[in-house]
């Protein structure tokens, strides 16, 4: 750096973490500045006679304090060395494991990037397997899809996210987790859980705690996307979790209100939609000339009392390709994952699903909706027609098979078999308790039993659900023997 010539600016006014500088003739948005006392800030906007800077470090800014323009712009060093580490949005490790790299440094990528254009994207064709039956069969997600996770507090969202990350073991998927303004203990716990489940080696955690300065918290998702893009450009499939964008929106509201921007709906500034859309657009499935990988983004929003009609959730619903709605009422009833199937949707995943799963999921949805209709009637009569009884029982069986304890991934083929079983003669006269009792044995048998394992292997080759049901019907006698 040439210390002889530098651009400088002087603090004209300051409000909390917001500082206005005079000077800096050729400064650009997202440039970094540093005060004499070593406090750094990034340029957020430029006005005719001053520059608005958001401070990244906490400290006192006095009038006429000199700020120098730093040679680097707002960015972070990226590389494979990030795997298994937890960093803050500026790339500073926060996991106490020492420096990120010792010998070689990675390229420095700018945090604020424009989303790749449409000509660098391709149709989403591969399914993103989460290892969770309910999602992989009924609400499938594609690689490169953006699926919003909505839910109120204590509805099992965090547990679900950890499950999805842990289930990516040995699949080659890189997981990036952005924790926006979470309590430090949550960050610590997450790292410990991932480590205990050997999931840290393919994961990068970008975290800010609630006590960090607001401008730093605001940058968390941008950093996460920048890291995700690095791995995507190397041809990797990346899973990006943003937990949560509601907190991000609130932080941006705080910054905007402090900066005298006029408040709009719910006091959020007018460009809150832009801020989120600008981020979420960076996910997708990319052509080989654009790196070839994919970024599957799962932004999270915590709802207030199941109300998803407020500004930020509706904004995000409109910029994602579907959403999963978690409900604490379902969670307390023992349904894990506590996803409301009728209110959840995936607009892209269907095209990535194989035919058998697709047919099967239609069949299941039909049963669930028919059962919902019949349930109201069934409350008024004690004697129900056989057909109605079958539908209601099938619904119970399906819901039982959709229940999945945390950290118990189920392979794709087994998921399909499990959900097809209620339609076989095996469960003609069995109830939910039977399914609950023998679910584990059924899964184990289809994985390891010499006569049943070949059925599991042949599932991907099947053309329709009818073929699968015929195949399973043959296995019923063996199963009956095993489940005695």
């Amino acid at each position: 750096m040439n210390i002889q010539t530098q651009e400088v600016g002087y603090a004209v006014s300051s409000r909390d973490f917001l500082v206005y500088l005079d000077g800096l003739p050729t400064i650009r948005v997202n440039d970094l500045v540093e005060s004499e006392t070593g406090l750094r800030g990034w340029v957020n906007s430029i006005f005719e006679d001053n520059v608005e800077v958001l401070m990244l470090d906490e400290g006192q800014v006095v009038p006429k304090q000199q700020f120098k323009r730093l040679p680097s712009r707002l960015g972070i060093p990226v590389g494979d060395f990030l795997l298994g580490r937890a960093i803050n949005p500026l790339g500073i490790p926060i996991d106490g494991k020492g420096l990120l790299f010792r010998a070689k440094t990675g390229p420095i990528l700018e945090l604020d990037q424009t989303a790749p254009p449409v000509e660098s994207r391709q149709f989403i064709t591969n399914q993103f397997l989460t290892g969770i039956t309910l999602i992989d069969t009924l609400i499938p997600i594609g690689r490169g899809q953006r699926e919003l996770i909505l839910g109120d507090a204590h509805s099992g969202k965090s547990g679900f996210l950890i499950d999805v990350v842990v289930n990516q073991k040995n699949t080659g998927v890189i997981c990036i987790i952005a924790l926006v303004g979470k309590p430090t203990i949550t960050v610590r716990n997450l790292i410990d859980i991932l480590k205990a489940n050997q999931a840290l080696s393919y994961t990068v955690v970008v975290a800010t705690s609630s006590s960090d300065p607001a401008p730093l918290i605001f940058l968390t998702p941008k950093t996460a996307f920048t890291i995700a893009e690095y791995f995507q450009k190397k041809g990797k499939d990346v899973l990006l979790l943003l937990d949560d964008l509601g907190a991000h929106a609130k932080i941006y509201r705080e910054i905007a209100l402090l900066g005298n921007k006029s408040p709009g709906k719910e006091s959020y500034p007018g460009d809150i939609f832009y801020q989120h859309a600008h981020l979420i657009e960076r996910a997708g499935n990319f052509l080989p000339q654009a790196g070839g990988g994919s970024i599957t983004a799962l932004p999270v929003i915590e709802l207030n009392l199941d109300d998803f009609t407020t500004l930020i959730p509706t904004n995000l619903m409109s910029m994602t390709d579907g959403h999963l709605l978690f409900k604490s009422s379902l969670h307390s009833q023992g349904q894990t994952p506590a996803i409301d199937i009728s209110l959840s949707v995936s607009r892209v995943g269907r095209q990535t699903q194989d035919q058998v799963s697709s047919f099967l999921s239609t069949r299941i949805r039909q049963v669930l909706s028919a059962a919902a209709d019949l349930e109201t009637i069934s409350r008024f009569s004690s004697e129900l027609p056989t057909h109605t009884q079958i539908i209601l029982r099938r619904k119970e069986l399906i819901l039982e098979f959709l229940k999945q304890e945390p950290l118990t991934p189920i392979p794709k083929q087994i998921q399909v078999i499990l959900l097809a079983l209620p339609f076989t003669s095996l469960f003609q006269d069995k109830n939910r308790l039977f399914a609950e009792q023998y679910k584990k044995i059924i899964i184990d048998s289809f994985l390891n039993h010499p006569q049943l394992a070949p059925i599991t292997k042949s599932v991907p080759k099947l053309k329709s659900d009818e073929e699968l049901l015929k195949l399973l019907e043959k296995a019923v006698p063996i199963l009956l023997k095993l489940l005695k």
């Binding site: 002889q4 530098q6 651009e7 400088v8 005079d22 003739p25």
Partner: protein, 158 residues
């Protein structure tokens, strides 16, 4: 308005001095127009400066326009070009006026100096002109020739 400012700027070279002088002038005039507390002038210099202002200067200010004039003056001062100078010592009035005269002659008639103290420069000066910081100090020269200096010191190592 410009005439008033020019008369004040005539022998006022630094921004801190200008602000100080504007304050005492405002206090002095308010006192003479509206009475009240007597202005305490901090030194002979202030009294001499007030006396040095031409008679027309005071004629143009009256009870009715004093506040307007000072609001406009303060706004005009904000528009003046400032040359920030980092020095390793605290210059006296004579030095400031010498530098000021030189700078005004070369860069513009209404230029103001903003003198800042920075002992880290060792000797010489660093200037800030329109947001650009130029370091002409001994510190930067030494940093430029760091290798050479270290090399020559090494000769004396045993």
């Amino acid at each position: 308005m410009q005439d008033l400012l020019n008369s004040i700027l005539k022998d006022t070279y630094s921004i801190s001095e200008l602000k100080h002088r504007l304050r005492i002038l405002k206090n002095y005039l308010s006192e003479s127009f509206f009475g009240g507390q007597k202005v305490e002038l901090t030194g002979v210099e202030d009294t001499n400066w007030l006396k040095s202002l031409p008679a027309q200067f005071f004629q143009s200010i009256n009870k009715d326009n004093i506040y307007n004039i000072f609001t406009n003056l303060e706004a005009d001062v904000k528009k003046l070009t400032i040359l920030t100078m980092y020095l390793t010592f605290e210059p006296d009035t004579t030095t400031i006026s010498q530098i000021g005269t030189f700078a005004r002659k070369n860069f513009g008639p209404s230029l103001l100096l903003d003198i800042k103290f920075d002992p880290n420069l060792i000797a010489g000066t660093a200037l800030v002109w329109k947001g650009n910081y130029q370091d002409y100090s001994l510190r930067s020269k030494m940093a430029q020739k760091k290798e050479e200096i270290l090399e020559s010191f090494k000769k004396f190592l045993r």
